[in-house]
Structure formats: C-alpha cells, structure tokens
C-alpha cells in the first residue's frame, strides 16, 4: 500500500515537474530591439522600466519571454539609423524605435521591412514611411486639453491672453501636433492669442535665451505656453530674470501652461507657478506598447486607430497635482 502511495506521490511530483518544465518551455523567446534616440529626461528611463515590467507581466500571460535589446543614439539621427541597422543584423524579432527625427526614421522603417522585421514607432511617429504600428501619446489631444483648460482658467480670471509660445523641435511630430493644437484652440475660443513663437529645438539653453529675448521684446505678454516642460529650470530662470516669477494670485504672475508635467515641473506646479498641464503618461504608453508587441508577435492585428495606438494624458492643475493617482513623474523621482 505504502509503495502505491509513494509511487503515486512520485508520479504526481514527476507529472508536476514535467508539467512545470513544459510550462517553462511554453514561454516562447521574443527578442525586441528598442532604439531610443536620447535620454533627455527621466521620462526615457521611466519608459524603459515600465516596458520591462509590463513586458514580463503581459508576456508571461501571453506565453512569451521578452528579451530587450536597448540602445541609445545620443540625439543623432545618423547614429540612430546605425543602431537600428545593428538590430536588424542581430536578427531581433521586433524593432521598436523612438525616433529622433520623424522624417529620417523612414529609412530605417524601409530597411526593417526589407529584412522582414516588424517595426513599431514609439512616442514619435514617422512622416516618411509607414511602420507596422505606432504607439504613443496623443500629442494633439494633449495640447488641446491643456489649451482648453487654460482658456477656461483665463476666462475665470477675466484675462485676455497674449502668449509666448515655446515650440519644440519641428522635426519631432509631437512638437508639430502640439503647436497645431494650441493655435487651433486659440482660434476656436478666442480667449488667448499667440503673439510670438520661439523655436527651442528642445535645447534648454534656447528655452532660456529665447524666452528672455521674447519677454524683452514683448513686455505686454502675460502668458507662456511650453510645448514640453522637461527643461523647466530654464523657463524659471528666464521668468526670474524678467521679474515675472510669481505664483497664481500675485500681481507679477505669468500665466503658464505646459505639456508633459515631467519631474522638473511637479514642484513648480504644486507651488502654483504652473497653471495647467497635461500628462504624458509614460506608464500607459509602455503598457500599450507591450500589448501591441505581443499582438504583432502573435500575427494578430493590434487594432490601432488611423493615427496609431495612442494613450491620452490627463489634465492636472495645482489643485489636483498632489492627489491625482499614478502620476509617475511625481512618484518616480530619479
């Protein structure tokens, strides 16, 4: 009798073991090459971390073991193209890239297509080639939400806005979308006008000098829109220089609307210097990216809209910034 029981137990253990081994073998290896163009803020680090954690969670559920090959191009489109070539040569299963230059990335898309590797554009789309899928934040919607919320704030305060617009690098499709949305809302609501546009090329030094010069040339300006607040210290320095650094409610206050609400902007918003922003939600973007990756790996249609699989952001104001949930830039300090 004992022999049968121990035999049965052994058998069950063995079966469980074989089953376990079989489970382990069930996880198909999936190599994803991720080409980052630069790491200009903690946003990029957050992405990588979220991609990895989501990759493990969703991947396991779908039966994949995702291996990431990550390279960074130091803000050089030629370097990025070379990096992607490396990924192709390496034979990764899927390539995902955050383009430095939305125009230049088309070459890499074609190269991947030729090699038969699916290509996903992440965060920045492509204006020169059609990828297998695009995952990103909805930059147009983001700026639109900011602008509309801003217009409401100005209306409540009885202010007609004469704004300085700090534009991003215009080879970045997100920057293009944001300036479009901002100016579309300006026209629609009539609550503010853009009196000068300052292109900053996403260079913090140009944020500083451009805003300083603009404030000097247009002392009548009473609001500023920043297409991204990653270089917020420069914006602060320029406002301080012009004597317009004051929180809401004070007479010297400069009405300020931004996009992204990155780490550098959280405290200023808590203290009331920034009036409104819309998040660039790194977490939901990463989550969506992994979903799309897995769908493609399974040869399924990821089901993206005409502009791609986009994650929307949320509007945040000084009243809500401390309490709003899942604000990675507030909680995820480097």
């Amino acid at each position: 009798m004992k022999r049968y029981i121990s035999g049965a137990i052994l058998g069950m253990v063995a079966a469980a073991g074989i089953q376990g081994a079989a489970n382990a073998e069930d996880l198909k290896p999936l190599t994803v090459g991720f080409s980052l163009d630069t790491k200009e803020s903690s946003l990029e680090t957050a992405w990588v971390d979220f991609l990895k954690s989501e990759g493990e969670r969703q991947g396991k559920a779908a039966g994949f073991k995702i291996d990431w090959v990550i390279n960074v191009a130091n803000a050089d489109p030629a370097r990025q193209a070379a990096n992607i070539d490396d990924l192709i040569t390496r034979g990764v299963d899927i390539i995902m890239a955050r383009a430095f230059d939305s125009g230049a990335i088309g070459t890499s898309i074609k190269a991947a297509e030729k090699a038969g590797i699916p290509f996903i554009t992440f965060d920045r789309g492509s204006t020169s080639g059609k990828p297998t899928a695009h995952v990103g934040g909805d930059s147009y919607d983001q700026a639109k939400q900011t602008a509309e919320a801003f217009a409401a704030i100005l209306k409540k305060a009885g202010v007609q806005g004469k704004c300085i617009e700090l534009q991003g690098m215009l080879t970045d499709i997100n920057a293009v979308n944001r300036t479009k949305a901002w100016n579309d809302v300006a026209k629609a609501t009539g609550q503010f006008t853009t009196i000068v546009q300052v292109p900053t090329n996403w260079n913090p030094e140009l944020f500083l000098s451009g805003l300083t010069n603009a404030l000097n040339a247009h002392p009548e300006a009473n609001c500023v829109f920043a297409a991204s607040d990653f270089a917020f210290p420069s914006i602060q320095a320029a406002l301080e220089k012009a004597g317009r650094w004051a929180p809401t409610g004070q007479p010297k206050h400069m009405w300020l609307a931004t996009c992204d609400l990155l780490t550098a902007a959280v405290k200023p918003m808590e203290d009331g210097y920034i009036d409104v922003s819309t998040t660039w939600d790194a977490y939901s973007q990463a989550k969506e990216a992994v979903r799309v990756i897995i769908a493609i790996a399974k040869h399924q249609d990821p089901g993206c809209g005409p502009d791609g699989c986009l994650a929307k952001g949320r509007v945040v104001t000084p009243a809500t910034v401390k309490t709003i949930s899942n604000l990675w830039s507030r909680d995820y300090a480097k």
Binding site: T38, K39, E40, S41, S42, T45, V72, N74, A75, V196, V198, P199, N203, P204, E205, L208, S209, G210, T212, N213, A214, N216, A217, P219, F230, A231, P233, S234, Q236, A237, E240, K241, A264
Partner: protein, 320 residues
Amino acid sequence: MRGFRAITEFVIRRGFLVVFVLVFLFFSVVTRHFFELGNLLNIISAMAPLAIAAAGLALVVMSGRLDISIGSIAFLSCAIGALLMRTNGLNPILAAAIVVSCGALLGALNAFLVVVLRVNSLIATLSTMIAYRGIALQLTDALLVQLPPDIRFIGNTRLGPVPVDILVMLLIVIPVHLLQSRTVFGRRVMAMGNDIAVARRLGIPVDLTGFMSFVLSGVLASLGGILTTIQNGAVSPFLGSGWEFTALAAVVVGGISLLGGRGTVFFSVLPGVFIFEMIRNGLTNLGANPYSYRLVGGVVIFAAMYADALKSRQSQLSRT
C-alpha cells in the same frame, strides 16, 4: 579712384568696427526694444559665459595654435561637478573648485598631445572635443543635471542694475587681458605666435609657454561653463556645443589673427562675442526666422576671415 582705394583700405583694417556699427544701428532703428538698457544688459549677460571661454581660446590662438575643445571641456568639467553635487551632496564651493581643476587637467591633456607628442593642435583638440563630450554624455546619460535649488539664485542677482554675471565676466576677462599684454608669459605667447622657430632660437621656453596656454584655456572654458550652468540652473547636454566655432569666429572678427602673434584679449574678445550675441538678439527682436541667425552669422564670419586673410597677406610681405 584714390578715394575708393582709401575706403577699401579702411574697411579691411577696421572692417569689424564698420560692420559692428552698421548692425547696431540697424537693429536699434528697426526694432522697438533693442536699444534699451535692459535689453543691452541681457545681451552682455547672455554672452558672458562664451566670452570667458573665448578669452582662453584667444590665448591659444595668439600663440599660433588652435583649441576647439573648449565647449567639450566646459561640458565635461561642469557635468562632473554637478553630478558630484547631486549624488554626493558636495558643497558648491568645493564642487566649483573641482570643476576648475577638471578644466585644468583636460587642458593639460590637450597640452600633452600638442607640445609633447607634437600633434597638430587642430587635430589634437578635434579629437579631445569629441572624446570629452562623449565621456560627459555617458556620465550624464544625456540627461539634464539640475543644480541644487539653493545656489540657483546666483543666476539672477544684480548689483544695482548690472547683473552679477557681467561683473563676473569682467572680473575674469580683465586679468586675462593684463596677463597677455603686461606679463612675461603674455609676451612669450605673442613671440611664439610670431615665429615659433625664432622664439626658440632666442631662448624663449616655447614648450612650457605653450603647455600653460592650453591649461589656461581649459580653466577658462570650465569657468565659462560654471557661469552658464548657473544661468540655466542645470547642466544640459547642449552645454558648450558650438562654442568653439562661435568663439573662434568672435576672436577673429575681433581682430586676433589666426596666424598668431596679433591682437589683445579685452578689445578683441568682448566686441567679437558681443556682435554675435547682438545679431541673435536683434533677429529675435525682429521676429525673424531663427534659422536666419545661422545665415547672418555665417556671412559675418566669412567677411571677418576674409578681411583677416587680406590683412595678413599685406603684413606677410613686411614680415620677411
């Protein structure tokens, strides 16, 4: 025809002055807010970091050599300082001292390549320009390194109406000018720039002087970097990029010949840097397409270099 000749002579000799005055008048007349004390002080404030670094470059150029790594030295040395402050909570004064020491060391490496290994200075500093920036990008992950909030206030203090950064610039550039014009070291630099072989023949310690000129250039580059970091409140991956070319252009436009041996620091570097910053500021005031800045800057650089070439061809005949 003699009148025409005289005018061209004048333009070549004082070409820079003519261009300067024309540009200044143009912007003053055509825009509303250019010709205001506040704006002019802004120009000088904005140019201060580059002016400090250009003063160091001027020394090297006057000795007959080139140093195009100044922007990268500024970036790397400041990156190290800012990182130490952030991760180790280092005292700002100590951090500044470390930044300056880094500048000196990086300059000394340049000196080693040029003076000891006898590598052409353009090639040597081109390689260090790339290497230093690469190292700095690695260290910072190409991220912004913010300064601790307590020292950020320095960027905007004023002494009366004059921003402190202008005073800092003067406090650094004037001693460098005196060094070049009134000390033995300065005269040796000029001697080298005239003719390094003759200088050696006369017993001048050419190698030591050359070495020190690169070290000084590194120190001044890092000082300029400190100033721009304070102004921006952070060390950005764009720190110093393009400095070498604007500084070189400013130095030549201001009257320091690329052949060496000619010019002064104060009266060449400051006006030279000012004219470029003035153009950028004026164009913004005009609301001009900001990419036009590069075009205008390029034209000014070309005109200055051409005038320099003409001037030195004339004096080349009298040098033999």
